[in-house]
Symmetry: C2
Subunit: 724 residues, 2 copies
């Protein structure tokens, strides 16, 4: 997973309660009596297929696959990465999938040298690093192939400057420093991980004139303040470093030299752009460090004590460095990055659809890891391989899906969603009628199911989860809903935006922001998407310690949650491939859009922006959605041709939300309803064009974006109105 926000632990008593509840609700578990399922005229036949599928994904096999995938570090484009591609391809072929390994040639950096040396006021040496990522006991930590901590997309350079602390490096943090008279020109900004995407921290630091950025993991956010650090618990030890890309993802992901164009092997160099001019690469250097290396720097900083909310969990009072003559600490940073065109390998396995082969259902997960990547991404790959195992078993019995199912193992996600983005860019037009993209990434770190999705697929996901048994007894859905009521649960509000949690009383599904491979599918190509995982305490993200030992100790010792995710992914694919009518719930979509419009109108307040046309369009879309849903639930007597026409309409409706011009200043992002937040990077921005113009107090732009949105809503409504 390219970008991530930590998930907090679940109290034990919630478990006991959940299990007690499950025992009294055993009937819920799964498919004894075929339920009424949205998208199916009659679910009986599908229920039989589901019943064939569900027992096949195997916990113990998933564990073996995980062990193989995590046996060695497999950074994108390395020989070890290629070995995992061959392994996945073998597994795909064994299940009967038409399989190919798809290479791309993309610009990526690997570090030649990264170093940091810090001195205090009086010249005393504070840090010489980076320190060794090491704990008392871990079987994998000493492998010589482990890449030194570095930042993907970092600039190269050798700089010396004074340090200023900028909290999480949010827009408001930088603004606060500016108000306090702290000039960042020529400074090195020290920020902590959390609250936004790391690329945003660097983007803002660069804009404010900083010459370098140090990003560290504060123990308050994913270390001892959360719970016991590894190897005593799941949280980050003091030497653990979060590697990661600082690409300006919110501009565009993928190969920085080829926005919108696939970096196939035959792409001529002349087609490549200068990445520093296209805007998704920092020009300054960025280095991720551990709290162990950050602590002496933070402790030596002078200036005023930090504003409220900036103090972390290191055992002293934090200071910003301030606006005085000397901030208290000077650092000498070296970042020597080897930028090369490197080969990466996606693996694509296909099950050709029997009736609608052009309609693709895509299931995807990346394969490359910063180091071992047990949770991120190998848990996802293992789960996907067991979903493939289940589909393979159906194939061997002669079953064929109506629509084509593709399984994709993406490469170079960590460097900026590169494998998925290049593939999407290569298949642009084919994706116009791809009916869904189902992602998983950090598939398993614990026992709490969570999901984000386009609003039209939130209910679909809930229905699938009702049919999958939980390792805790009862259904996945039952625990998902139960957990979401727990006081200790923060995942969904952390991962998705609040507005994503609609339908009170139902399990919450967040909105899609960014940070994994659904971004090119959904926000660039308009393919309705979901993202799922089974989540728990996870403090070793992007460190060497995200390895097999950590995983079986903390995440899923019996691999039953890998099995659970395999089953959910498999059923998502099966149902979407075989549904009579595409199960898009446009009423939920209309509700989400209209709520966002209301909120934006409220925010616009005194500004002279007329929302009436947009609101009319929203209301029209809602009426069309309600009519369509009536039709979707009354399929009796519809001919095959009528259903095909209806499905085309349903799918084309989503495409109406795309704008060929894209969002202001970031044309790669075509979706007018959802984008990664310009200054958050992870969290979804809803109707981003309008909202971000309002946030920037640009009334003209807001009005223009509102007009585009109004057009899109009218287009979507007009499309749906053709249904009958």
């Amino acid at each position: 997973m390219f970008a991530f926000r930590p998930f907090r632990f679940m109290a034990l008593q919630t478990w006991f309660w959940a299990i007690a509840f499950a025992l009294s609700n055993a009937a819920l578990t799964s498919g004894q009596t075929p339920p009424s399922v949205f998208g199916y005229n009659d679910f009986t036949a599908q229920a039989k297929i589901d019943a064939e599928f569900l027992p096949v994904p195997d916990a113990s096999l998933a564990g073996q696959e995980l062990k193989f995938l995590t046996a060695q570090p497999h950074l994108a484009s390395t020989p070890e990465d290629h070995e995992t591609a061959l392994y996945v391809a073998r597994k795909f072929r064994a299940a009967g999938l038409e399989t190919e390994i798809v290479p791309y040639k993309v610009l990526m950096n690997q570090p030649r040298k990264v170093s940091i040396e810090a001195h205090s006021d009086d010249g005393g040496l504070l840090v010489i690093g980076p320190s060794w990522e090491h704990v008392s006991d871990d079987a994998f930590q000493d492998d010589s192939r482990i890449v030194m901590p570095f930042a993907g997309s970092s600039g190269s350079g050798d700089v010396t400057g004074e340090v200023v602390y900028a909290n999480y490096g949010r827009l408001e943090d930088f603004d606060k420093l500016a108000r306090d008279g702290v000039d960042l020109h020529g400074k090195v900004v020290l920020v902590r991980y959390g609250a936004n995407f790391r690329g945003v921290k660097v983007y803002l630091a660069e804009q404010r004139g900083a010459i370098g950025v140090l990003i560290y993991s504060d123990p308050q956010d994913d270390g001892y303040f959360q719970g016991d650090p590894y190897p005593n618990g799941p949280w980050r030890p003091d030497t653990g470093v979060q590697r990661g890309s600082v690409q300006y993802l919110f501009k565009y992901p993928g190969d920085p030299e080829t926005p919108g164009v696939a970096s196939t092997l035959d792409l001529p160099d002349s087609a490549r752009l200068d990445p520093l001019k296209t805007g998704n690469q920092p020009s300054i250097i960025a280095i991720p460090i551990s709290s162990h290396d950050a602590a002496p720097i933070l402790r030596a900083l002078k200036g005023p004590t930090v504003p409220k909310g900036w103090q972390g969990a290191l055992p002293f009072s934090y200071h910003t460095g301030g606006s005085g003559a000397f901030t208290g600490v000077t650092v000498h940073l070296v970042s020597d990055q080897d930028y090369e065109l490197r080969i990466i390998w996606d693996v694509i396995g296909k099950v050709r659809g029997s009736q609608f082969p052009q309609d693709w259902v895509i299931v995807g997960n990346h394969r490359d890891a910063w180091v071992y990547g047990a949770a991120d991404p190998c848990s996802g790959t293992a789960a996907m391989l067991e979903a493939v195992h289940g589909i393979g078993s159906l194939l061997k019995q002669g079953w064929r899906p109506k629509r084509t199912i593709l399984f994709a193992s993406w490469d170079a996600e960590e460097e900026g969603l590169i494998g998925s983005t290049e593939w999407v860019e290569q298949h642009g037009h084919a994706l116009d009628h791809a009916v869904a993209y189902f992602n998983t990434d950090v598939a398993v770190t614990g026992s709490e199911f969570g999901a984000e999705a386009v609003p039209s697929l939130k209910q679909f996901l809930r229905e699938v989860a009702q049919q999958v048994p939980s390792p805790q007894g009862g259904s996945v859905y039952m625990h998902w809903k139960l957990d979401s009521g727990s006081e200790n649960r923060e995942s969904n509000s952390l991962r998705g935006s609040k507005s994503g949690i609609d339908n009170l009383g139902e399990a919450p599904v967040g909105d899609l922001g960014s940070g994994s491979d659904y971004t090119p599918f959904f926000q660039h190509a308009g393919v309705p998407s979901t993202d799922i995982g089974s989540r728990g305490s996870y403090g070793v993200y992007h460190s060497v310690f995200d390895d097999y030992t950590w995983f079986i100790q903390n995440a899923d010792p019996t691999f039953e949650y890998l099995q659970e995710i395999a089953r959910v992914l498999g059923l998502e694919a099966l149902h979407m491939a075989d549904a009579d009518v595409l199960p898009y719930d446009y009423v939920a979509y209309a509700r989400a859009i209209n709520a966002s419009l209301d909120a934006a109108r409220h925010k616009a307040a005194a500004r002279s922006i007329d929302f009436s046309a947009a609101q009319s369009a929203g209301a029209r879309f809602m009426r069309a959605a309600e009519a369509a849903r009536m039709l979707q639930t009354n399929l009796q007597g519809k001919s095959q041709a009528e259903l095909m026409r209806f499905n085309t309409i349903l799918r084309q409706t989503e495409n109406q939300f795309l704008s060929q011009a894209g969002l202001p200043n970031r044309p790669w992002y075509k979706h007018l309803i959802y984008a990664p937040g310009e200054y958050s990077g992870y969290a979804a921005a809803v109707i981003p064009g309008v909202n971000e113009a309002l946030d920037a107090r640009n009334t003209d732009l807001a009005a223009q974006q509102l007009a585009l949105l109004t057009q899109a809503l009218n287009r979507a409504a007009g499309m749906l109105e053709q249904a009958r």
Copy 2:
């Protein structure tokens, strides 16, 4: 100050803004044109007196007084405490006050020995303490008379037991441990300071079967997490210990052997009760310790990691000790307490009223300190002495107040509000027509004015603050209101209950809970009271470091805020002594009571409790209050006799809120509207009889208490209705 919650720092830019604002509002500053003031027919004459008074309180003299008072440790009943009594008496006499030193003989403990030794699982020594309270540089820390850290009212004993961590020791914390199956019988409970009064922590631990309590100061609450520790800043250093009484204050304060009775020197021993049977003394031992001594214990505890919100700022993950065979730490505690009848000395200075000598206006502050007590309480004493200085200057010009003004320097407040409580118990009937008690305690720790008061005096306090200049320019009121809008301001919501912050758009005044000497006056005797202070970052509370060095470095280097508090206290006394009609705002009181009734009705919800009679009584009281306020603002043509009668009615109205039976299980607390919360100890409980019965799910008791409250409201309304 007996009990205290820390105050957070104020951002610098608020200052700049405030000063800028002040410059453009210079006219506001003070008394150029006599304003219309509630309680005065014509303020002109009073404005002249105020103008004579205000220049007299002197910052530099206040500094000298503070220096004298803080020169040596002066624990209640010690010779050094007696020296400060003589000093205050001299100052009172010099100003022309009729002065007497009033001794009481009261039961108090002093420590002979306090020790703690902790061992881990494997028998290894973790702590042998207490450690020395010490920092790199402080002029006062090495005095041999400094009392070792101990708890007032602690039991004596020599116990050994396993340790369990219980967060703040709130009711919900103990309940959480119980739900998790942690049995506290025979255990030593380790709790952190904060969130409630320390006596409540011990009370609950005793109820749950614990044999001892260790109370420590977590750096999250008043140490490095808040800002730089002393001597680099105002916050608590790691060796700093918060001494304090663990008396069960919420039962009753004062001499534990004489509830309701004054411990005069001639009180026969036969009149004394067994304190362990009267219910305000713990039977178990309690020892306050530093974070330095708590850290190794916390780090060695086993069992599950703590629930959300229990983790503090020490640099490791906290564990509760859990419910297993061994919690991980065993401590051996010795608390050898010398309980003796000891002599204490209140100092009372009187200015006899010329017209209504029986109507007392009392200004009070305690004088005893755990050690040096620079902020707590000497800043209050210095401020009060300068108020006396100002009054003395008026006296020398021949002025006499209409009502009697008393200045009181209480002793043994720290051991349980003893000096003030015994004095109130001695003067019971005389206080029926005491018109106000104005308290200050930790008078100055910084620059932000704050206050708590009975609702009827909140507006009075605001008007006084409008007439006093701030050291920042403008009026005290202006900055008070400005600060209360600042994002960094948390004082009022921390110190008073939310319901105390009525009148949106005005400076907030909290409700009176407990923790200082207003409690016997207000909650036992029904004297309308206020409590004021100028507040800032203050982490050295009840430690050796609350000394003159800390004060001039952190709180008030130029003593201008001591001067400010002297002026506010003085004007409170002058206005209350000379007002034509007593400036009680019963409309605000009725509003507060009716809001509390509504909240209680909401809380009672499904229970079959009929609130209609209480609501009618509340509405009747509101109507009577509105009519009375009309009369209070139209005094023209009223004869002296009519005013006297009206004032008697106004004062007697407050007395109608007293119940001779007192609150359930704590008959000493007579006030039906305000009491210290049974489980908070500090924060005010509003309509406590009803609310605490509801919290305990005791419907019958709630209904009975509601009936008593209804009677009281009807009595109060009936009293006010006699005004004409």
